[in-house]
């Protein structure tokens, strides 16, 4: 963002990023199913140091009754960053940013959940960011997707999310902390599994149309890789019968 305090001189040196990654390389990815014992369904996802945990409760009766939807279940989503997830402490409570992110995550999941299977009920989806190093909403959505499947809520497919960016004029996959602060662009997307369907799109920064086209393609591939990891994690859940 220009003249920010502490900005490194270059974010890409000899084709490698500050943490040694190639331009189209992910940080180490981790996906876990059912990390929490008490929620009906739970999931966990990490992009390097960004760590998100999600819990799903329901379907359960929706109150107030007057606001029940007679044909569908109502999804409620709450995205929170815990106070010590970032270098500067975050004041607990809602913020405009968390309201917006809760909304777009909910809207993404609504595209795959069969809400008509449980009319008049409600499903609560909580996402907690334990540690933030950019791409937090993407990690949150990936974790929520796993948690929803773990809860037995019927879904057409999983939602997979990642972020692409632009630093020093180059297009990169999986924006990391410094790249988010000092880079030019942060573009978060989510797809329905590997399908050509984007259900979350948020872009900050400035790109030409050509750069945009490249970023969309790279993001789609990235989501595909995330999807494979989520699928693998879900399949592992019941393989050996190991419950946590």
């Amino acid at each position: 963002m220009g003249s920010k305090v502490g900005a490194p001189e270059k974010l890409i040196v000899k084709g490698k990023r500050l943490d040694g990654r190639k331009l189209d390389e992910f940080r180490p990815l981790v996906a876990n199913v059912h990390p929490l014992a008490k929620a009906r369904g739970s999931g966990e996802f990490k992009f390097g140091n960004t760590h998100a945990v999600s819990a799903v409760f329901g379907p359960k009766p929706f109150f107030p009754r007057g606001l029940q939807d007679p044909k569908n279940t109502i999804l409620t989503c709450k995205y929170t960053m815990i106070p010590f997830s970032t270098k500067e402490r975050i004041r607990p409570g809602r913020s405009r940013r968390s309201t917006e992110i809760s909304k777009v995550i909910r809207e993404a999941l609504e595209q795959v959940i069969f809400t008509e299977d449980y009319p008049k009920t409600g499903i609560d989806i909580f996402i907690d960011i334990m540690q933030a190093d950019a791409s937090t909403r993407c990690a949150g959505l990936n974790a929520a997707s796993i948690a929803t499947a773990d809860a037995g809520v019927p879904m057409a497919d999983l939602i997979s999310s990642c972020a692409v960016g632009k630093v020093d004029g180059e297009i990169i996959l999986d924006v990391g902390g410094l790249e988010d602060n000092y880079g030019d662009v942060d573009f978060a997307v989510a797809t329905v599994g590997k399908q050509d369907k984007f259900v979350l799109l948020q872009l900050d920064g400035a790109v030409t149309l050509d750069e945009f086209k490249k970023m969309v393609k790279l993001a789609k591939e990235g989501c595909g890789k995330v999807y494979e990891l989520q699928q693998e994690a879900l399949k592992q859940r019941y393989k050996t019968g190991d419950e946590q």
């Binding site: 379907p59 359960k60 795959v112 037995g152 809520v153 019927p154 879904m155 057409a156 497919d157 019941y238």
Partner: protein
């Protein structure tokens, strides 16, 4: 050039996940837990496949109880109105037991408070009479198995694992009943009532089945668990 050859891509009792393609082609039909997407049948949930003739279904490994007419369930009376009780049956939907479906004799409402029959907190075994389109559920006690359950212990398991707990022709549940000298009633809604000598041992066996319902060799493991124990602990 349409390759309309139908094929099933999974085996029986295979663990599948949401979005996974189970079959291709128009010859197969989606049953519970599945949906059709163009010419593919996909799973809606994480669960075990169940293939019967041309129907492909998935039994969920997790999820809430959705009542069906005829289900035998165990519920707790949570509220009393003048002529009916509201019963909590471990489902996101309320269920109602009308006076007429619970009591065979004539009741003079001016003289009797219906709480004398069932009071808040009572546990009952009842049958699901009807599930309306609006998801209002009505129960009935008009069944030889229906009764108030007193004493004993209640346990909750994932409703989709009830068939595994009961076993083929009731073999698994009979095994547990015999070895623990307990009365055990299993509700389709995942609530289990146990009363008898070795309640704790029975609970242990049931929880093991819940955890490992998708693993083969379970019967042997449970037999060992029940046989190898001496006095209930």
């Amino acid at each position: 050039m349409t390759e309309n050859k139908s094929e099933v891509l999974v085996k029986e009792k295979e663990i599948v996940i949401p979005g996974q393609t189970l079959a291709k082609g128009l010859d197969y039909l989606p049953s519970n837990g599945c949906y059709r997407s163009n010419n593919e049948i996909k799973s809606k949930v994480m669960g075990l496949t169940k293939i019967k003739d041309r129907y492909i279904g998935v039994i969920p490994l997790a999820g809430v109880y959705v009542p069906k007419p005829g289900d035998g369930i165990i519920g707790t009376v949570s509220d009393i109105q003048s002529t009916f009780w509201i019963v909590d049956i471990n489902s996101p939907y309320d269920s109602i037991l009308q006076l007429g479906e619970a009591v065979g004799e004539y009741v003079d409402l001016n003289k009797t408070d219906i709480s004398t029959y069932f009071d808040v907190g009572d546990v009952i075994y009842a049958k699901v009479l009807n599930v309306a389109k609006s998801k209002n559920i009505t129960l009935t006690m008009n069944d030889y198995r229906a009764k108030k359950l007193s004493g004993g212990k209640l346990l909750s398991i994932t409703p989709t694992k009830v068939p595994r707990l009961i076993g083929r022709e009731g073999s698994m549940i009979e095994l547990i009943k015999n070895k623990t000298d307990c009365q055990i009633i299993v509700g389709q809604n995942g609530i289990v009532w146990i009363k008898g000598e070795k309640e704790t041992l029975a609970i242990k066996a049931i929880l093991t089945i819940e955890r490992e319902s998708h693993i083969s060799g379970l019967t042997d493991k449970i037999t060992k668990l029940l046989g190898g124990e001496k006095d209930g602990e």
